[in-house]
């Protein structure tokens, strides 16, 4: 997106023309006595697509509000392109924002809605018209400019909101569950639209969702929120394969979580089976959790032990055939639930009721400090 208009109403900082760098540093936010954010830090690179993922009430929106300037942190700083935002009001932050319910101005036409930020920046009329047309093109709504928001479908309104947030070329784009109100099909097509627009506009994106698939599909990196803290930041791949906590492991994708204990002698065991001492666990810890992703585990006959595998006896509770793959739910001796996925072509013969062994290679599992809330059937 290189054109003459970049300087007009574009980012304050020429460096940020493509995307701003956002640094959130040690931010604390309380409401009354309730801590909404306890020490959140996040470094978002220019042009990066960062998703905030977490359960309801974990502080995602609060973080976004601190960045947009609608709330002030009690402690810590928010910096955009190196500038401390503490005394910068929302309208001077040059941050585009897409609201969950779109917040389109119902009394303005689509064109006027999109032109709104340009008008505030006193962009000359012809330039406004040109950029509005361009933005309408970007979101594929040519020809809808004269309508009112009430005359558009939900997905179209969503795209207008997007166009309005990017038309002034903000260095940073904030989206708070922008697809939350759309049905599944529309959501998926909007996801690819957002990906494309992000690619074309090149701005930094901070995106909130609590849909893990959406997070995985869109993001460069994901920050997982839990009770006002960031549990882990990383690419989807990293989070899935190397979760830093049982919370992250549980939140992203399915997994089997097995309790590991250390005996007085210092040896670790899972449900009575000795396992190698985990490296990621503090020396003093007495318990840990072994996380095995379903596609990394296999079910084998009791006498089919292999050298490099660990095995625990389980009972198959149900097998669910899903076409390309099959999911087997199992139960361990202590009642802990487990899950195994097999892809077509290498499906085992086991059926519900069979007594078999749940096996995995230690290298394919993650061992995390602390015990997971037991998933007992």
């Amino acid at each position: 997106m290189s054109d003459a208009g970049t300087s007009i109403g574009g980012a304050r900082n020429p460096v940020a023309a493509g995307g701003s760098r956002l640094v959130i540093d040690g931010v604390v936010k309380q409401f009354g006595g309730h801590t909404a954010l306890a020490d959140v830090s996040l470094d978002v690179q220019p042009g990066e697509f960062m998703t905030l993922l977490g359960p309801s009430g974990s502080g995602k929106s609060t973080t976004l509000n601190l960045v947009s300037g609608f709330a002030q942190p009690d402690e810590g700083t928010v910096r955009i392109d190196g500038v401390d935002m503490a005394s910068v009001p929302p309208r001077r932050r040059n941050v585009g924002m897409v609201f969950q319910n779109y917040a389109l101005f119902p009394h303005l036409t689509i064109e006027a809605n999109i032109a709104f930020p340009l008008r505030q920046r006193r962009v000359p009329r012809p330039e406004q018209a040109r950029r509005v047309a361009e933005a309408l093109g970007t979101v594929r709504l040519e020809g809808y400019g004269q309508r009112y928001p009430a005359q558009l479908s939900g997905g179209q309104q969503q795209r207008v909101a997007l166009a309005r947030a990017i038309v002034f070329r903000p260095g940073l784009l904030l989206m708070d569950e922008p697809l939350g109100a759309l049905d599944r099909g529309l959501r998926e097509s909007m996801q690819s639209e957002i990906r494309r627009i992000h690619r074309e506009a090149g701005s930094t994106v901070l995106f909130v969702t609590h849909d893990q698939e959406e997070a995985l599909a869109l993001s460069d990196r994901i920050a997982v929120f839990h009770e006002g803290r960031i549990e882990q930041v990383g690419t989807g791949h990293e989070l899935y394969l190397h979760p830093a906590s049982t919370f992250v492991a549980g939140f992203l994708g399915e997994s089997t979580m097995l309790p590991a204990e250390r005996s007085a002698g210092g040896a670790w065991s899972v449900l009575g089976v000795r396992v190698p001492a985990p490296s990621a666990v503090p020396d003093a810890a007495r318990s840990a959790t072994v996380v095995v992703r379903p596609e990394r585990a296999r079910l084998r006959a009791v006498d089919d032990a292999r050298q490099d595998e660990l095995g625990l006896s389980v009972q198959v509770l149900e097998d669910v055939y899903l076409g390309a793959d099959r999911k087997l739910r199992v139960r361990f001796a202590d009642g802990t639930a487990g899950v195994v996925r097999e892809v077509a072509g290498s499906m085992s013969p086991w059926r519900a009721g069979d007594r078999v062994e749940f096996a995995w290679r230690p290298a394919d599992s993650a061992v995390l400090p602390g015990s997971a809330a037991p998933a007992v059937l």
Binding site: R91, N101, A103, H107, A150, F168
Partner: protein, 299 residues
């Protein structure tokens, strides 16, 4: 206790009048209820009687305004237009009419301005108790008998030299109009989506731009309804006006009152008919406009 009553009263009045005024009634009434009504014959008869009682008696001023005789005999046995001629040529009538329109306009503008600002303040003020108290204070003129207000206003205006002045009338009428503005504007503000203001602000609009371009256009029906109320409240006001008038400054209602009280001059019927017609037209236009607008905004 007074506070609670006030709350309930205003809450109820609030929803009613603007909603009815802005065509909410026509927009929402989709249900086919005729069958249900038919099962309540007593209520239907009573409603018809009440409707007639509300509308018909007032209409007698129309034929009287065309009477040929200088009397209120109904129905008239001869007809003429001379009372209208009288109305528009007698300077006591014309100047009172002009004055009233002018005073109503000024006090409506004043009441609407301060009332709208106050309503925005009331809905935003984070100290809800203080806001509730301030609101109750602003609504006092509706909940205190007019006669009680009139005597105090008379005394104070007398000592300030405001009796019989346009300023005095405008101040008094505007404060009587403020509650109507506050009630109808806070009603629309309640359903106003604050998110829109944040959106505007995040898009680069300053506080004033947000108000001018987003908030005001969206609460305009309430503001206009309030302004109309305030205008009519002033144009109709008689009690306080009687206390603060002077022989040199009389309003239209005072002229009507004195005419009704003192002589049988059908000019007052012509004046009344004029008021009747103009008011009805204004309401119909207002309802029409708001219906169109409601349709466009899809609310």
């Amino acid at each position: 206790m007074k506070g609670r009553v006030t709350g309930e009263v205003t809450g109820t009045v609030t929803g009613t009048v603007p909603a009815a005024q802005t065509g909410g009634v026509t927009a929402t009434a989709k249900a086919k209820g005729t069958g249900t009504v038919a099962r309540h014959p007593f209520a239907v008869v009573a409603a018809v009687v009440v409707a007639l009682l509300l509308v018909v008696p007032t209409l007698v001023v129309v034929p009287i305004s065309f009477t040929g005789k200088a009397s209120f005999v109904f129905p008239p046995d001869s007809w003429s237009l001379r009372w209208y001629g009288n109305l528009f040529s007698d300077s006591r009538w014309t100047s009172a009419l002009r004055r009233s329109l002018w005073i109503a306009l000024l006090s409506s503008v004043l009441a609407t301005t301060v009332g709208t600002a106050a309503s925005v303040g009331l809905t935003r003020w984070r100290r809800r108790r203080w806001a509730a108290a301030a609101r109750a204070l602003l609504l006092v003129p509706v909940f205190v008998p007019a006669i009680v207000l009139a005597i105090g206003i008379y005394t104070v205006f007398g000592s300030l030299g405001l009796l019989g002045t346009v300023t005095g009338f405008v101040l008094a009428h505007a404060s009587l109009g403020v509650p109507f503005v506050v009630i109808s504007v806070t009603a629309v503000l309640q359903s106003f989506d604050v998110q829109l203001e944040r959106a505007a602000e995040s898009l680069g609009a300053g506080r004033w731009a947000v108000f001018r371009q987003i908030t005001l256009p969206l609460i305009l029906p309430g503001v206009l309804a309030g302004a109309l109320f305030a205008f009519v409240a002033s144009f109709d006001e008689i009690l306080v006006s009687l206390f603060i008038k002077s022989p040199f400054l009389e309003t239209f209602p005072i002229r009507v009152y004195q005419s009704v009280d003192n002589d049988t001059d059908p000019t007052v019927a012509a004046a009344s008919t004029l008021v009747l017609v103009v008011t009805t037209l204004v309401i119909l236009v207002a309802v029409r406009i708001s219906t169109l607008r409601t349709r466009r905004l899809g609310t």
